[in-house]
């Protein structure tokens, strides 16, 4: 009798240790319906009993108690005869040692399917010496909530980024007001605030490729043309409200500096053989932007997630003087070129970007 008690105690102790470990090794997705309902009996009785995995049962009828969500429902088919006379020692198992099942009545897989449970098996108990009815002899069948990854990094690549420059100065370079740009950005979630709000820091680079008018653009009777390019380096931050796992509106504030390169070409005069003239220079200009948008991404089920964002806002930047200024060779006569006007860089913008989160 003393030996029996020791065995039962040992079995319970092993079960307390092994149950969480088994749960930890459960695959995230398991098709529990594929398991045949009777795969656990009768061999499973001894096997499961020896691993002492599940012990939460209703002492009155032997069925699994629906205790909260942490209840493992044991199929009736898995009980052995005499289950209704369960030993008091085995009856109410601590809930902490139970394996979570997503729904009652889910059948467990055979314990033999769990390698971790095969190892460290104690010596099987003799049926005639084991009056204990273990009504949950199999490892628990668990259907977990899908795993959610928490991403901290965001990389954006603008597939369409347009700034509307309505100043007359831009007419030298373009026949319309839209300046198309490409950009790449990198963000990191630095702070989680209450209410699913996240503060992120961002850096980025943007290029405005050569936007130019050619000599046939009609400017001043086809006598002048200009081209403009810009490179921008940005620092900024955004405040994002993760309404759902896949949708987050946000606001963004950016500070940046841009290098504008201006080239102006005047054609040769039609009255003499004098050659054309070129002026070329660059300027650094600072500015800031304030925008708001929404971010869509797939539910975060994998380490790397994808999505898109749409953002609009206002780009505020100092104007650039359009100057007929060049780099004359050394020894040239001191030359001063006129100021044609200014290139206004402020205006509304709209961007559409793809993003990666990881």
């Amino acid at each position: 009798m003393a030996k029996l008690k020791i065995s039962i105690a040992l079995a319970v102790a092993v079960g307390q240790v092994a149950a969480p470990a088994a749960a930890q090794f459960l695959p995230a997705h398991r098709d529990v319906q594929k398991s045949p309902p009777n795969t656990a009996a009768p061999g499973a009785t001894s096997g499961a009993a020896s691993s002492a995995r599940v012990v939460s049962s209703d002492p009155t009828n032997g069925s699994v108690a629906p205790a909260a969500s942490a209840v493992l429902a044991a199929p009736p088919t898995s009980t052995t005869p005499g289950a209704g006379t369960a030993s008091p020692a085995t009856a109410p198992a601590p809930a902490a040692n139970t394996v979570v099942a997503s729904s009652p009545g889910v059948t467990q897989e055979p314990a033999t399917a769990q390698p971790s449970m095969v190892s460290n098996q104690p010596e099987p108990l003799q049926p005639n010496l084991l009056p204990v009815v273990v009504n949950q002899a199999q490892p628990p069948e668990v259907t977990e909530a899908p795993r959610t990854y928490e991403h901290h990094f965001t990389v954006t690549l603008d597939v369409a980024n347009v700034l509307w420059r309505t100043s007359t100065g831009y007419d030298l370079f373009s026949s319309n007001d839209a300046a198309w740009r490409i950009a790449i950005g990198f963000g990191y979630d630095v702070l989680k605030l209450p209410g699913h709000t996240i503060l992120a820091a961002e850096v980025g680079a943007m290029a405005e490729p050569d936007q130019g008018s050619n000599s046939n653009s009609g400017l001043l009777g086809n006598t002048i043309s200009g081209s403009l390019s810009a490179a921008t380096f940005m620092l900024g931050g955004s405040l994002r409200w993760a309404m759902t796992q896949w949708f987050a509106p946000y606001g963004r504030l950016g500070l940046f500096t841009s290098r504008y390169a201006v080239d102006i070409h005047a054609t040769a005069s039609d009255t003499t053989a004098s050659s054309g003239v070129d002026w070329s220079y660059h300027r650094w200009v600072e500015g800031g932007s304030l925008g708001a948008g929404v971010m869509f991404n797939l539910p975060p089920r994998s380490p790397v997630n994808v999505g898109v964002l749409v953002e609009g806002g206002y780009w505020l930047q100092q104007s650039v003087d359009i100057q007929l200024e060049g780099s004359p060779p050394a020894g040239s006569i001191s030359t001063l070129g006129a100021r044609l006007g200014s290139l206004g860089n402020s205006g509304p913008y709209l961007r559409f970007a793809g993003l990666l989160r990881f």
């Binding site: 100043s167 009609g218 400017l219 001043l220 054609t267 007929l324 001191s334 030359t335 006129a338």
Partner: protein, 541 residues
């Protein structure tokens, strides 16, 4: 295909989003019709009717201009003689149906940033200014083709008194009583008609005669004269060698043409009032003839005065003739070199320490076929007595293309040679200094003792310093120093401008947006020069 349609749709949407078009004013070419100094500025007159003034006499160079709008389509830009004003004749604008949007006008731009406009009747007229800058006459230009009006009145002229305080800007349009066709030329004369005070007249030349308009009373009926019998068959035009000279004191006008050896003399007398109380003609004209040669028409002629009376100096073939206008007595002296130009001046001569009336006879020919390499000096006061002794020939060794009088150096002539190079001719010493140049000299300007020259399209300007070998003795030999200044762009035009203590040579360059280089006339080094460019586009955007 679907992919293409999607792409096209996307592009269309993007284009629709990229709203905004260029302003139309950015499409118009900056078309400069004329450049002229005005005060301390250089005025650029554009076909759009915008005049942009660039200050070139300031201390610090600034590529900024001030603008003033005038009537569009300017065609003639002339600096008013003797007064710091610019005259611009504009044709105005009409729409495609001939409806006048802007009438033609003469705009006077004074030194200040203001303007006076005189409306004209017809576009496309030519303008002649009096030497003293007091009058402008606009009259028919047969070379102008009016594409809008089917009918025009070629006898309609505008006679404008430019002294705004003396002449009102109204009643300037007059219809001339033409003689055989529209006028083709006009001369300004000052005659003492009945008084010792000169009265301004305009003599209009028509294909078959002339008319004389009293500029002080242009509304009065002008006397006209039919000269058909004296003129070649078919009448006169610009190629007929028609010429006018006048003697103010005797109120006589001399006419010549290249088809007659006679010179017509018009004596102008005060008009006789009509019996009905009207003024009638303000003057009356009587005509007589002078015979200069038996068969050859005069090439050039001019009037000079001696104590014994007025004389007419004329070149006739290879001789020069002095004609006593009262008695029609001709003194003819053979020339070693033919001449068709006369330049009168008062100066000493190498063998005459006293200043006297002299003339320089030389030949020009736009076709270049009859150019000569020598010129003839004539002592006018000694011609009738000394004859050949009154002549002196100077040979330059190369054919003379043109002779340029320098405004600030009246006794130095710039003789431009057709083969390149220039000579500076001292009219007193009758000495010339050869200066070689591999490019044809087409531009000149002069400061007090420095002559600037340039060649359109060349990057260099040159100057010649004229100084006496002994600075304390103005009669000492003139020493020439020549030097060139290289600019960074080809020369278009060159102006010499003075203001207070600044003296600068302003060189324009033919460049989009405008370009000028200003050179300190007293320190013509590159290091002291400045170039301004693009000022016509300043604040365009």
């Amino acid at each position: 295909m679907q992919m293409k349609m999607r792409l096209a749709l996307t592009l269309a949407i993007l284009n629709a989003c990229a709203c905004g078009n260029r302003e139309s004013r950015l499409l118009d070419k900056v078309d400069v019709k004329g450049i002229a100094p005005l005060g301390g500025d250089l005025a650029y007159v554009q076909s759009s009717g915008v005049v942009q003034r660039l200050n070139v006499m300031g201390v610090n160079p600034q590529p900024k201009t001030t603008k003033i709008s005038i009537t569009s389509n300017p065609r003639i830009v002339i600096r008013r003689p003797g007064v710091e004003e610019l005259l611009v004749v504009s044709d105005g604008r009409s729409d495609q149906y001939g409806q006048v949007i802007e009438p033609p006008a003469l705009t006077v731009l004074p030194d200040q940033n203001s303007k006076r406009e005189y409306p004209l009747v017809d576009p496309g007229q030519q303008m002649k200014l009096s030497d003293d800058g007091k009058f402008a006459v606009l009259f028919n230009d047969p070379s102008y083709v009016d594409t809008t009006s089917l009918l025009t009145n070629p006898g309609q002229v505008a006679i404008i008194g430019l002294d705004k305080d003396k002449y009102p800007p109204t009643d300037i349009i007059h219809s001339l009583d033409t003689v055989g066709g529209p006028p083709f030329a006009v001369w300004f004369l000052t005659l003492n008609v009945g008084t010792q005070v000169g009265r301004p007249f305009a003599l209009f030349a028509f294909p078959q005669g002339i008319s004389l308009v009293d500029l002080d009373s242009p509304d009065d009926k002008e006397p006209k004269l039919d000269l058909t019998s004296w003129l070649p068959s078919g009448g006169m035009d610009k190629t007929s060698g028609f010429g006018v000279a006048f003697d103010q004191g005797s109120a006589e006008i001399y006419l010549k043409n290249s088809h007659s050896s006679d010179i017509k003399v018009l004596s102008v007398a005060p008009g006789i009032p009509t019996t009905d109380g009207g003024s009638g003609n303000t003057v009356n004209i009587s005509v007589r003839s002078l015979t200069v040669s038996n068969s050859t028409a005069p090439g050039a002629f001019d009037v000079y005065s001696l104590a014994s009376g007025s004389r007419l100096l004329a070149t006739v073939g290879n001789s020069v003739a002095s004609v006593t206008t009262d008695s029609d007595t001709v003194t003819s002296v053979a020339l070693s070199t033919p001449a068709n130009q006369i330049l009168q001046f008062d100066a000493k001569a190498p063998k005459d320490p006293n200043s006297g009336q002299r003339a320089l006879l030389y030949q020009t020919d736009p076709t270049g076929g009859s150019l000569q390499s020598s010129v003839t000096f004539v002592n006018l006061e000694d011609l009738e007595i000394g004859k050949a002794a009154a002549l002196e020939t100077v040979d330059f060794g190369a054919k003379i293309s043109s002779v340029v009088q320098l405004p600030n150096l009246p006794l130095q002539l710039l003789v431009i040679l057709s083969g390149g190079g220039i000579d500076v001719l001292d009219l007193e010493k009758r000495h010339w200094s050869p200066i070689d140049s591999k490019v044809p000299i087409t531009l000149t300007a002069a400061t007090s003792n420095r002559l600037w020259v340039g060649s359109a399209g060349d990057n260099r300007i040159g100057y010649v310093d004229l100084s006496n070998s002994d600075p304390t003795d103005p009669t000492s030999a003139v020493m020439l120093t020549i030097k060139s200044t290289q600019l960074d762009s080809p020369v278009q035009q060159m102006f010499q401008m003075n203001q207070s203590s600044n003296s600068r040579v302003i060189v324009t360059h033919d460049q989009v947006g405008g370009a000028v280089t200003w050179v300190d006339a007293n320190n013509p080094e590159r290091s002291a020069a400045h170039k301004l460019e693009g000022f016509l586009l300043s604040d365009l955007l």
